[in-house]
Every structure is written in C-alpha cells, then in structure tokens.
C-alpha cells in the first residue's frame, strides 16, 4: 500500500479544512460571517448604491454617464482589491480540489504573493493615472427643472458630502429614509459609505499590529535568554502605557487622517499578539521538527516563518478577529470624540456624535442607526472570533 | 461464597454514554461479588470499561453523557443505585472510598494535604478541628510518610508522585471504609514505588479488615495481590475465578491470550505471542461475542459470530463467557458435571 501523493483518496484533511468544517457547524457564526461579507459588498459597491450622480442621464438628447465618470482613484483601488479577493478565494477552492495538501501550502503562498503584488502595483498605477475630477453639477435639480430627462439614479440618490442646509436635522421621511444630519447630508448614504472606513480601519490596523507582534514575538520566543529579557521589558513598557490616552494624544496632535489612525491603532495594540507568539514559540522551540530544521542549516527566517509560525498562529488568528472588532470600536470612539476622520468623510462614530444637537435636541435617528451599524458589525466580528476559537481549540485537543 | 460474607454485589450492571458521536455502551451486564476483607481484581485493557464500573459503584459517572441503564448494586444489603444523592454522599468516603490513577492531578493544588485529609475526617466524623488534625497526622504516619507533622502543612506540588499517592490513600482510609476501590493506583508510579504502595494497601487491609477492588491492567500485580479476579473485555466480563486457578488454567481465550503474552523467566521462544487485532471501537462493537474477531477459536464459528455468550459457571467457582468453554447446559449435563467435579451449588444455566 504505497501512498501516491496525487491519489485523492489518500489525502487527509488539512488543518484549514478541519477548522473550516468545525466552524461551519455553528449556524450563528456562519450567519455572522455572511453579514460581514454583506458589509464588504456594501463597502465595495458603495458608490453604486448611494451616489448623488445618476448612472445615466439624457441632456439635450445625448446620453451622459456622470456616476461612472466621477469615480475616484480610491473607488478603483477598492474594485481591484475586491476582484483580487474573489479571485483568491476561487483559487483556494481550486487548490482544495486539485492539489495535494502537502503541496498546498507552498502554492497558496505563491498565489498570495502574486495577488499582493498585483494589488499594490495596480493601486499605485491607478492612483497615478486616474485624475481627480470634481463634478459639481446638481443632477437632481436638473431633473427637477426639466433640463434633463431619462435619469437613472442610484438607490440612494444622495452623495455623502452633499450639504443642503434646508433639510438639516430631519427625522426619517420619504426623501431621506433615515433622516439627515446637521448639515443636511443623507444619513443612509453616509452610513453606507462609512462602512468603507470602518472595515478598512479594522483590517489595516490589525494587519499592522499582527505583523509587528508576530515579528517581535517570534524573535523573543525563539532566542530566549538575554534578548527575551530585554525584549519583554520593552513590551511591558508599551503595555503599561495607557493606550487610549496615548491614541488620543497622538491623534490630537497630528493631522487628522484615516491613515494616521490606522497606523496608530496598529502600533499600540501589537503587544497581545507578541505575547501569544512568544509563548507558542517557547513551546515549539523544543520540538523535534525545529531541531531538525536547525540541523539542516536552514536560514533563520525559514525556520521561524515557514516551519514554526504555521503551528503557532492559531491564537493570533483568533485575536485578530477580536482585534478588528476592537479597532472598529476605537475608530468610532475617536471619531465620536472629534479626533477621527474629518468630515465630509463619513464615519459611523462621527455620525453618532451628532446625536445630540448643539441646541440639546435628541436626534434619535442619528444615534440609533449609526449605533446599530457599529453594534452589529462589532457583534459579528466578535461572534466569528469566538466561533473560530472554538473551532480551533477542540481540534487541537482531539488531535493531540 | 456464602451470602453473609458478601460485602458488595454487582448484578447485571449496564452503563451507557450518550455522546454526539453516538451511544456508547461502556459496561454491559456486569455481575460480580466482592467478599469481606478480600482483594478483588478487575483486569482488562484500556477502554474495556473497568474504570466506568468502579465509578458507577460510587455513582460518580458524569451524568449528562453517562447513565446507569440497568442493574443493581448491593452494598451490605443496601441498593446503592436507589439511594438519594445525600445518602450516597454519606457513604462515599466513609463506607466506600476510592483512590485514583493520577496522584499528580488528583489533589487540590491550593489546599495543604493536611487540610484535605481533615476535610474528609470532619465530614464523616464528629470531631473538632484539632482532633481531626491529629487524626490526619496519624494517618500520614500510618501510610509511611516520615515527619508527618511537617508534611501535613505541605502543598501537593511539593511532594513526589509516590508520596501523593500515599496521601490519597491516607485520605481514603481515614474513615476506615469497608471497601476501598483502587483505580490503577500504581500505573503512574515508578516500579519500586509500586511495590511499596501495594504493600501498604495489603497492610491496611489486614489492619482494618477492608475489602479492596483493585482495577488494573497489570497481570503481575493481580497475580501477587488478588484473591479473586474478573477479566473484562469490551464492556463485558469474560471470566471470573480465584486468582490461583485463573493463572494456572485460564478458560477464556482472551485470558489465555493475555497470559501467554506475558514474558516469564525461562522463556525460550524468539517472539512473544500476541493477540492479533485491536480492541474494538465502543461505537461499533462486533456482533455476537465481542472477542470473536481476534479469537483463535471463534473467528470462524457461526455461533460465536452471531450470539453473545452469557457469563455462566463452567466449573465450580469459575465463570466464563465463551461458547467453547465446557460447561453444563441441561439437567443431564449438570448431573454429569456433578459426578465429575463433585457436589456444588448450582449456578446459572445457559438461557
């Protein structure tokens, strides 16, 4: 009974598949995952769902496509990222069906690298090539005054930056389904576009903190001794800083931008991941496969990242999902306090801060809807993280 | 065995576990008796159900998955399975005590060992704190721990495995129970310590007149210490006999296989005989006799493959569950039996 590597019947179940199957047994978390996917779709398609410019409009007998013309570089980058993401998922499915598990890992990483390269290159190219056009024509007025006909608007026909002081602070009505904020922008539109901010903050911030944390934790855990001692003191210093104070300090002093916030949240929250990886690496260091790798003379980065890391990454993944929820929270809190993204960029937290008007009126629609958005998003991520933790743990215990 | 000598009587005990993967029948139709001041050994491979049997005597089976589905357990005439939990709590630790396999984890790490013994004493006896403490120290001395005054104030993590097991024994025997259930008491210990612990148990048995239910997979221990032995395989008892006759002449093919695979002094064969195959998965027991796939006699026998043999008396004082064990099945056979082996009390006939 020789084992042929390509004989499908002999393939075991890979760790990823095991976790995925266990995860799928929990219907609630699959629902939450579906919700998160829905949010992503919302974020990607935001300019098509809520836009002040119509898809198509007939002016003086000629067809114009204002919405498509006004798409910005960021929109194109987001589309590119979405396409690449979907392509990668399809590739994963194909891998699972066609490639032997022992080879799958290497193939997967090559694919990811190619995808990342395409993404970054594409984004740079887009940002350099796509001009920034400002189209300030008010198409709704044109339709209203019969200067144009045959206009097809997006489902929510308002732009997130539109200011219309005549309709400010209106509760939900037929024109503005979720009401308007203090400058007259449509709440639903800003809610949809705000999802982009929340999701991107989550991912980038957690991405940064994971990278730093994994790197630091791997070095400390692998070497131990003096390096570990000094390193842990540094980690303790960073941990002892009251992070929220630090964040608002930094954010208040430096110019307000989404990018700054993402970086700052990332560099203040890596300590948890570092401690996890360090603990895992301590355990793994003594195992035979690490000794074998060392005796083969493999370079350090190979030992650390190709051999040890996949075994110790589980708690970091779980922590990452909770981290995304936390990052969304922090961004909302910062925007609420006035330190986050500046208007007109839409942010759920900033909308929340308008809930009590300057005159003291309680504008319930500005409190309820953004609040629910934050709540459901954070809840979804937390539940997914919890289910992921459950999916990973018992498997480890059973396999051991 | 005359009736008034029987301390514990287990009749047709069945225990099942209702798990996500299915229904596991961990113990099926187990019947045996334990006499006063005797050591009864329950032998078998891992997973055969011996620990579950012991736990069900103490009614410590974790109840959401597990359940005693049939049978009776009589302890001094009282039906243990019908007692209320409160009554059972009074019996546990006091009349029936149990020690476990892992001394490392079986003691609470945050209390001193003195405190843990005192807890058992004060629960079942009306003694005040200082009396109980004095008793505890005395127990520690009895189980052979030197400097017991000092040791009583130690925490479990400060002691070695052997000492911890002695502490467990001290705790269990502190209220002088009539039955001590020892679930693999020496498996986790060094060989030299094993002997010491077993000697200790022997001594305590002589001093207190207590019975011991010894659960083990080590046949050597059984040969030395047990008075009567029951062999379990895949949730059933397959043979019961006094220790001497069992080792001299095992009747059930499984017992025979086990004994054959023990290396002995003077063994000259090149390879150690083994029992072919592996223990069956409790979720998917074989039909008929559970041992038949591995049995040299029964793997081709249709009766062995389809009908499960009952545990019945096949010699005076010996029971076995095997179609190939000679025994009596009808009245005539019984008379023939009697003429061959002499008059004896008639036991169950094949049904």
């Amino acid at each position: 009974m020789t084992k042929e590597p390509n004989n499908k019947a002999n393939w075991g179940i890979s760790y990823g598949e095991l976790v995925w199957r266990e995860f799928g047994k929990n219907r609630l978390s699959v629902l939450c995952l579906g919700f998160i996917v829905f949010l992503f779709v919302l974020a990607v398609l935001a300019p098509f769902l809520a836009n002040g410019k119509p898809y198509v409009i007939r002016i003086d007998g000629r067809l114009h496509f204002p919405l498509f013309g006004a798409l910005k570089a960021t929109d194109y980058c987001v589309f590119l990222a979405a396409i690449i993401g979907v392509a990668q998922l399809l590739l994963i499915r194909r891998n699972r069906r066609r490639i032997d598990p022992s080879l799958r890992g290497g193939v997967f990483w090559r694919q990811i690298s190619v995808m990342a390269f395409v993404l970054v290159g594409g984004c740079v190219a887009i940002c350099l090539r796509v001009p920034y056009k400002l189209d300030a024509t008010n198409y709704r007025d044109m339709v209203a005054s019969d200067k144009a006909t045959g206009a097809l608007f997006a489902p929510v026909p308002y732009g997130f930056g539109e200011v219309d002081l005549a309709v400010r602070e209106q509760p939900p009505n037929a024109q503005h389904w979720l009401g308007t904020d203090d400058v007259g922008s449509d709440v639903l539109c800003r809610l949809i576009h705000g999802s982009r901010i929340s999701l991107s903050v989550g991912f980038v911030a957690v991405g940064i903190s994971c990278l730093i944390g994994i790197f630091v934790g791997a070095i400390l855990g692998y070497f131990g001794g003096k390096i570990d001692f000094i390193g842990m003191r540094v980690v303790e210093i960073v941990m002892a800083i009251p992070t929220f104070f630090l964040i608002i300090t930094i954010v208040a002093f430096f110019p307000r931008s989404l990018f700054n916030i993402m970086i700052i949240i990332g560099i203040t929250s890596w300590t948890g991941d570092a401690r996890f990886i360090r603990a895992e690496f301590f355990k793994l260091r003594k195992q035979d496969f690490v000794q074998a790798a060392r005796s083969l003379g493999l370079p350090l980065r190979s030992i650390l990242f190709r051999h040890m890391l996949p075994n110790g990454i589980a708690p970091v993944l779980v922590n990452a999902t909770f981290g995304i929820a936390g990052a969304i929270f922090i961004e909302a809190a910062l925007s609420f306090l006035g330190f986050g993204v500046a208007p007109p960029t839409p942010s759920w937290g900033q909308m929340l801060s308008l809930g009590v008007s300057t005159t003291g009126r309680f504008l319930w629609w500005l409190t309820l809807f953004p609040g629910f958005a934050i709540f459901f998003t954070v809840l979804a991520y937390n539940l997914v993280g919890e289910a992921l933790r459950d999916a990973i743990d018992p498997r480890l215990r059973k396999a051991a | 065995m005359t009736k008034n000598n029987v301390l514990l009587s287990v009749e047709n005990l069945s225990v099942e576990f209702f798990t996500e993967d299915g229904q596991v029948r961990a113990v099926q139709n187990v019947t045996f008796d334990i006499s006063k001041a005797r050591t009864f050994a329950l032998v078998g491979e891992s997973g055969c159900g011996k620990s579950v049997t012991a736990l069900s005597i103490m009614r410590l089976i974790p109840s959401p998955p597990g359940e005693v589905t049939a049978g009776r357990i009589l302890f001094r005439g009282r039906a243990l399975l019908e007692l209320k939990e409160r009554q059972m709590q009074r019996i546990r630790g006091d009349r029936i005590a149990m020690i476990f396999q892992e001394p490392m984890t079986s003691l609470n790490p945050v209390y001193t060992i003195g405190d843990q013994i005192v807890e058992a004493i004060r629960l079942h006896q009306k003694k005040n704190a200082s009396q109980a403490w004095a008793d505890a120290v005395e127990m520690l001395a009895r189980v052979g721990i030197s400097d017991p005054q000092q040791r009583a104030m130690d925490y479990p993590h400060q002691m070695s495995g052997g000492m911890r097991q002695r502490v467990m024994i001290a705790m269990a025997v502190s209220c002088e129970p009539s039955l001590l259930i020892a679930d693999e008491p020496t498996t986790a210990l060094d060989v030299t310590i094993q002997a010491q612990i077993l000697n200790l148990l022997d001594e305590l048995q002589k001093q207190n007149g207590m019975s011991i239910l010894l659960i083990t997979h080590n046949l050597g221990v059984v040969a030395e210490r047990a008075d009567k032995v029951a062999v379990m395989y895949a949730s059933r008892i397959v043979e019961v006999a006094d220790a001497g006759p069992l080792f001299a002449q095992p009747l059930h093919p499984y017992t025979q296989g086990l004994l054959r695979s023990l290396p002995r002094l003077g063994y000259t064969a090149k390879r150690l005989p083994t029992i072919a195959g592996t223990v069956p998965d409790p979720l998917h027991f074989p039909t008929g006799c559970k041992f038949h796939p591995r049995c040299p006699l029964g793997s081709d026998d249709k009766q062995c493959q389809t009908i499960e043999p009952m545990l019945r008396e096949v010699r005076p004082g010996r029971k076995a569950a095997c179609w190939h064990c000679p025994g009596y099945e009808t009245e005539e056979e019984f008379k023939e039996y009697e003429s061959k082996y002499g008059k004896h009390k008639r036991a169950s006939v094949k049904s």
Partner: protein, 332 residues
C-alpha cells in the same frame, strides 16, 4: 515577599521612564504648540509685537530651550510632584489632578465592585448549568453587551432616560445638582448617587461580559479536573465541591484580570466622562488634548501609566498569594 515587591518597584522605574520619554516625545513632535494656539491668529497685533509676545510666552513656559533640556527639567519637577501649571486653567496641574482623580477613581471602583459582584455568581452558575438554557442565554446576552459601543449606550441613555424627549429619570450631566452644597450629608450622597447612576451603568456593562466569560471558562476547566472527582469521592456535597474546590482554583486567573480591567476602565472613562460631563481625569485629558495643554497631557499620561503599573503589580502580588504553586522567588 518584601524583596519581591521592592524588586518589582525597582523594575517599574525604567518602565516609567520609558513612558515619560514616549509621552514627551509625542507632545513635542506634534505640529503646533500651546502658545500659538492660545494666541490665536493674532490679527489684532502687528507682526513684530506679536513675535515679541510669542517669544516672551515661550520663555515663560520654557518652550524655547532644546528638547532634552525641557525633558530633564520636566522630569526633575515630576519627581517632586510638580507637574507645572495648566496653560488653559492657569492653575497648578497637581491641584487639578488632586481634584479630579478621586472622582474618576470612585467611579471606576464602584463599577469594579458591581462587575465583580455580578459576574462571579453569573459565571459560576453558567458553568454549573453548562450548555443548558441559562448558559446559552446568558452567553448570548453577555456577548451582545460586550459589543455595544459605550458612546452609543451613553447617548441612548441620555436621550431616552435623561431628557425631556422621553423619560426624565436621571440627570444628563454633571456630578451634583446645582444646590448640592446646601444639602446635608445623606441627601447630598443620594444626589451624588443619582448623578452617578448612568455613568456607572455605562462603565459596568462591558466588564460583565469579559469577566463572566473568564469565570465560566475557568470553572468549566476546573469542574472537570481530577481533584474535583476526588473531592466528590470523599462524599462532599455538590455545593462544597463547586465553591470550596472548583471556584477557589478558578479565581486565580480572575485575579490577574483585575490588573488589566482597571486600565481598560480608565480608558473608557474618557468617553463616558465626556458624554456625561463628569469632571474627572478622563474629561481633563480630553480637554487638555484638544487645547494642547502640554503639562496636563503629560501629567495625565504619566499618572495613567503609574496607575497601570500599580495595577499590574497588585495583580501579580494577588496572584502569588492566591496560588500556592507560585513562590515569590520564582516569579519575577
């Protein structure tokens, strides 16, 4: 044990230095400075005069010296508890902190006590009734509580319970009513509690979920441990087994959580004090940051760091006391 405490306190010093350096660096790296802010566009003065005034003010606050000198002077003063003067309030920062810290601390301590009183029994009960209705239901509810953003809850509470629009049961802001100084002790105390009710509510609910989960997880692990089986075999009743054995072991990780809970609540204080206008450290920090009040910002960050470290130290000491397996020599 005293050597352990002394060693930890000594180790705290480099950590504190690190914190102060970091805070100082950030406040100095940022564009803009308090003098320019307080002077505003200076449209009323002509340029030369404005420059003179600016220089004078910079000299007054020592902002014209090189950075490391500023740091050393500042550090030297801090060690003697002189945090300088607040540029906005024109009062010594130390006084401001002295006024406000007790408020924040009392808010957090009350919340702390409530969280522990509720979570411990809840966690034990959920573990004992594992996988049954109570466990599942409380799990879901606690999860939802954990995911509620505190500013949202605060705002909703104000909108629905503290204002004229819906119910007017609680005051929307402040620590005491306007006539508080005229009241005797008990009415004053009651008034204080009435004002604190909503902020404390906001501060506690997030802690419930986290702590209950930890207690539940610890209890589940311990209830299945071997020594619990031994305890049952001794004939102990279920209640004794749960409380004296399993719970006593589960409490060990919970104690270490105390150390991390306090800093988290201090952070949450910022938002809640802002929403409810409670004059505590959080609000002080917020205002200081918006007005670039250097001295206050650095003082608050330092005090926050100290509190963090003290909390960590207390947590470690409590851990070593609770778990006899940890000796003070082995724990660094």
């Amino acid at each position: 044990m005293t050597t352990y405490v002394i060693r930890r306190l000594l180790l705290m010093i480099p950590t504190l230095l690190g914190i102060t350096i970091m805070v100082f660096a950030i406040s100095r790296l940022a564009p803009g400075d308090p003098v320019s802010l307080s002077m505003g566009p200076g449209g009323q003065m002509d340029a030369e005069r404005a420059a003179d005034v600016r220089e004078a003010r910079m000299r007054l606050y020592g902002l014209d010296k090189p950075v490391y000198e500023q740091y050393m002077t500042w550090l030297w003063k801090v060690v003697r508890l002189d945090f300088g003067d607040s540029i906005k309030h024109h009062r010594p920062v130390f006084d401001l902190i002295k006024e406000r810290l007790p408020i924040t601390l009392s808010l957090n301590i009350i919340a702390f006590v409530i969280i522990y009183t509720v979570s411990l029994p809840l966690g034990i009960l959920a573990a004992v009734r594992h996988k049954r209705f109570f466990d599942r239901a409380s799990s879901v509810i606690l999860f939802m509580l954990w995911s509620l953003p505190s500013m949202w809850v605060g705002q909703m509470l104000i909108g629905y319970f503290c204002g004229p629009a819906f119910k007017n049961w609680f005051p929307p802001a402040g620590l005491s009513s306007n006539n508080a100084d005229q009241l005797t002790f008990f009415p004053w105390f009651g008034d204080r509690l009435w004002h604190l009710a909503m902020p404390v509510l906001c501060l506690t609910y997030t802690g419930f979920a986290y702590l209950t989960k930890q207690v539940r997880a610890g209890m589940l692990d311990n209830l299945r441990a071997d020594y619990v089986r031994t305890a049952r075999a001794k004939g102990l009743s279920n209640a004794v087994v749960i409380f004296r054995h399993a719970f006593r072991n589960s409490i060990i990780p919970v104690i270490t959580i105390m150390a991390t809970l306090l800093p988290a609540m201090l952070a949450g204080s910022v938002i809640i004090e802002r929403i409810f206008s409670v004059p505590g450290m959080g609000l002080l920090a917020f205002e200081a940051v918006t007005t670039r009040d250097y001295n206050v910002v650095m003082a608050v960050a330092t005090v926050g760091g100290v509190l963090n470290l003290v909390g960590l130290l207390l947590g470690d000491i409590a851990y070593a006391i609770a778990d006899p397996r940890i000796s003070f020599e082995s724990a660094v």
